[in-house]
């Protein structure tokens, strides 16, 4: 066997032991730490600082100011009812889709995915046009049919807000419960039947307890969404004359900006989300999913009998509220001179498109900014998330558990809160990013990190470490293995991550609304501006444009990677 002179004899043995890839891992970890800890650190610092040293005065004012107290309470009410409503809609639909012979399941799943990716603030706009008290299409129809004076519904109200938010939040509950139900093998239920339990008893004693963690954690997930949401409350609650925490924080940024107050107001929201998430984790961790796993096991469909079509109708009614009606009114508004008038030939126009894309001054730069940010964030975010997940999966550096924690931490940071932290952190030296696209970039990368990380984590879990070790023992260094073995195997997973992040970025509103400056608007911010000007036609055009971009990415992902956006493989 003729080897070249072994390296050991030419190099000092200490040098031989050094892993040359270590700097890469350490840099990635440091980048993450900086990304998360800097804004949060500043947020905490500003909330307790004043010109005369440390103080709790901001917190005192936050909790004694009756306006802020009211906003706090409104948020609690909103979040609780959204959670409950999402559960009421999502759980039955999940059961129908996972366990019964409901017709048209593929279509329902597809539409569910559509409501999942629809930006909630677009839905809110659409519902303003559908159920605004005066001009709302549904109300006009109602008045025409009944001759009544009063509107049927007023969307500018707490119930209206809950309804609209729930329409775009219930898919979270649906996914959670449907995926769990899919995992429960029918044998478990049959084992109970053979021992003498009736259908209802089986459902109550076997199925329900097994799904219970998913139900509860779906509820918490919905509550978290509602807590962090900015767009829908801004569109529906402000005209109704009330605030939620997020809109209140935003309002505190209006001239003259009260950053300390906003920071102090952000901390309770941050803590609330963190606590809820912790609770959800414990619920899922205690019992349940592992034992639900199990291999094989047939899942037999429960026949609905005469209820098949009524059940389908019910599902479609829900999806009509979240998809058909809103998309319909957006399309109508985009193509008509006056959106509230009937769709006649005289009312038809392409002027809205002309106005939006060529006359309205900020559209073109906003589209460019959005796409630019989307691509940059998706590339950097997917890359960083992949590196971090790789480090954690292969335990490459000390404290890799901390890395996982940090990467997932932004889940508990509502966009508005993150924005406040970033605003404070990057409006002062050494990193003066405010006023540039970079601050939005940093915000998006941070906000999308949990999604990117969990995607990448799942990807690397699926790649057996022996595949890498086989290359190393044959003479390839870690970085070479990463490039030649791991990356090609992780390719489709990383592309999926890229798509997830891109979609997340182009619809982002809650952080952008605080961090944008006139030169750095993005599409969602322009839509928000247009609302102030009452330009519904243009809103509809831009909204449809945004949806088209989103669905293009979804379809691309489905065809290229052959997987469903909700995680199911075809």
């Amino acid at each position: 066997m003729n080897h070249e002179a072994p390296v050991a004899r030419t190099l000092p043995s200490r040098l031989e032991g050094i892993d040359r890839s270590l700097p890469v891992w350490v840099m990635a970890a440091l980048a993450l730490a900086l990304l998360i800890l800097l804004p949060l650190g500043w947020l905490a610092y500003v909330s307790v600082s004043s010109e005369s040293g440390a103080t709790l005065a901001h917190y005192g004012r936050v909790f004694t100011d009756p306006h802020l107290q009211k906003a706090l309470w409104n948020t609690v009410v909103l979040a609780f009812w959204v959670g409950l409503a999402s559960l009421a809609i999502g759980a039955p639909m999940a059961w129908l889709s996972a366990r019964t012979d409901l017709p048209g399941k593929r279509v329902i799943r597809g539409l569910m995915m559509a409501s999942f990716v629809t930006p909630p603030f677009l839905g809110a706009f659409a519902w303003v046009m559908l159920a605004g008290p005066n001009a709302g299409v549904l109300n006009k129809l109602y008045r025409a049919l009944t001759g009544a004076e009063d509107p049927l519904v007023n969307i500018f109200s707490m119930p209206g807000l809950i309804f609209v938010v729930a329409l775009y939040t219930f898919p979270y509950v649906f996914i959670m419960i449907a995926n769990t139900l899919e995992l429960i093998a029918s044998d478990l239920e049959e084992a109970a039947s053979i021992l003498g339990a009736g259908r209802l008893q089986v459902a109550l004693t076997v199925t329900l307890p097994m799904v219970a963690p998913a139900i509860l954690s779906g509820f918490i997930l919905a509550v978290l969404q509602a807590l962090a949401l900015f767009g829908s409350p801004a569109i529906l609650a402000l005209p109704a004359g009330f605030h939620t925490i997020t809109t209140q924080i935003w309002a505190l940024f209006h001239y003259p900006p009260k950053v300390e107050m906003a920071a102090a107001f952000s901390i309770p929201l941050l803590l609330a989300t963190a606590l809820l998430l912790l609770l959800q984790k414990r619920l899922l961790g205690r019992r349940g999913y592992a034992s639900v796993g199990g291999k094989g096991g047939q899942r037999r469909r429960i026949p609905l009998g005469v209820w098949r079509y009524p059940a389908l109708l019910g599902c479609l009614a829900v999806l009509a509220c979240s998809i058909f009606l809103p998309y319909g009114i957006l399309a109508k508004a985009a193509f008509s001179r006056a959106w509230a008038q009937p769709m006649t030939w005289e009312n038809f126009t392409l002027g809205n498109f002309w106005f939006t894309f060529f006359q309205y001054s900020s559209t073109q730069s906003a589209i460019l900014n959005t796409i630019e940010l989307g691509i940059m964030t998706a590339c950097v975010g997917a890359g960083l998330a992949a590196l971090l997940a790789y480090i954690a999966n292969r335990k490459l550096i000390l404290g890799h558990q901390l890395l996982t924690f940090l990467a997932l931490a932004p889940v508990v940071i509502p966009g508005v809160v993150l924005a406040v932290g970033l605003f404070v952190a990057y409006t002062r030296p050494p990193l003066l990013l405010y006023g540039t696209l970079w601050i939005l970039f940093v915000a998006y990368v941070t906000k999308e990190m949990p999604v990117g990380y969990s995607q990448s984590d799942a990807t690397f879990r699926g790649i057996h470490p022996e595949l890498e070790e086989a290359g190393r023992i044959l003479g390839a260094g870690r970085l070479r293995i990463l490039k030649e073995i791991t990356a090609p195997l992780a390719r489709s997973g990383i592309i999926a991550t890229w798509c997830f992040i891109f979609i997340g970025v182009i619809r982002e509103l809650s952080a952008s609304i605080i961090l944008f400056t006139p030169g750095t608007k993005v599409i969602s911010v322009v839509i928000f501006d247009l609302k102030e000007e009452g330009q519904f036609g243009a809103i509809a055009v831009l909204g449809l444009f945004m949806l088209a971009m989103t669905f293009a990415i979804v379809v691309l992902m489905q065809t290229v990677l052959g997987r469903d956006f909700l995680g199911a493989k075809e």
């Binding site: 066997m1 003729n2 080897h3 070249e4 072994p6 390296v7 050991a8 043995s13 200490r14 031989e16 032991g17 892993d19 057996h464 022996e466 595949l467 070790e469 086989a470 290359g471 190393r472 023992i473 044959l474 003479g475 390839a476 260094g477 870690r478 073995i485 090609p488 195997l489």
Partner: protein, 363 residues
Amino acid sequence: MPGVVIKGLTKRYGKVAAVERLDLQVKPGELVSLLGPSGCGKTTTLRLVAGFLKPEAGEIWVGDRCLSSPATVVPPERRQMAMIFQSYALWPHMTVAGNVVYGLRFKKGMTKAERERRVKDILGVVQLGGFESRYPGELSGGQQQRVAVARALVVEPEILLLDEPLSNLDANLREEMRFEIRRLHEAFGITTLYVTHDQGEAMVISDRIAVLHKGRVVQVGTAEELFQQPRTRFVAEFIGRTNLVDGVAVEPGVMARGTLRLRVASFGLKSGARVTVSIRPHEIELVLDHQARALAGGGENLLRGMVQRVSYLGDAVDYQVQVEGSDVILRVAAPPLLRFQPGEAVSLAVAPAACVPLTEGDT
């Protein structure tokens, strides 16, 4: 051709020691199996040798290079080794040729033509000529196994490591591949460490076997040595089936349990010391009374007993015999010529050489 020397190797996971002060020497060109039940530390040892893990104590030497110590671990890629994995670890995105040629790309000064020639040669050796452009997913389990073997051998490693390479194959193929691996070892003569939990596999393939228990080597030897002269209870039970009789030494060559007396294969026992004796089932002979009388006075241990259970196994009959005047039940593997029924009284004859006192306690 270097050998491997492992000295005092220790690896802990948290507080649990997976490998503890393990010593082992592999001579140049030798194939040594690490044999033991799951959790005995055999795979951890192999991965320490490969450089995937860092030891807490001890050293691993290959030739005159110290490759692992708590201070420095030479990374796997600079160890001149090759490894065959339990999962084969073939890269699904590369063809058979791409997989096999991979390690050659790191050999400086080798031309492309030379690399291709070597790939072709080695695929011939493992009987996969013509499969170069297939992908691993298009091959059967046995063929994948052979690609993994080719990929490891083509780089002409100083040391070859195998981690339960046959455990994913079905029974027939496994048997066949045992001989194949032994054949390749004889052809290439690479110093090899082979991890397995299957004693049959270890016996066919190895020059020597190291039996591991709780992170330590409890006995090293050829298959024959381990089977005939086990030194601990663990080895006696793990390699083949056996009867273990606990008792006390009454003379240097005799142990006693109650009224039972056994002459054993040793004259080194200390009177009064506790001793366990291992007797392989096939070393015990069931004899008829007149044969027993003929044997009496010879060197054999002669016992009387009562047959309790009989299981017919085809090539042998498995008996459980209760020894008269004792709580000892012996299992006997007898040829199927003579048949006894449950409840029948029999005599048992055992040569003292077959009664092996276990000299070392298990930790």
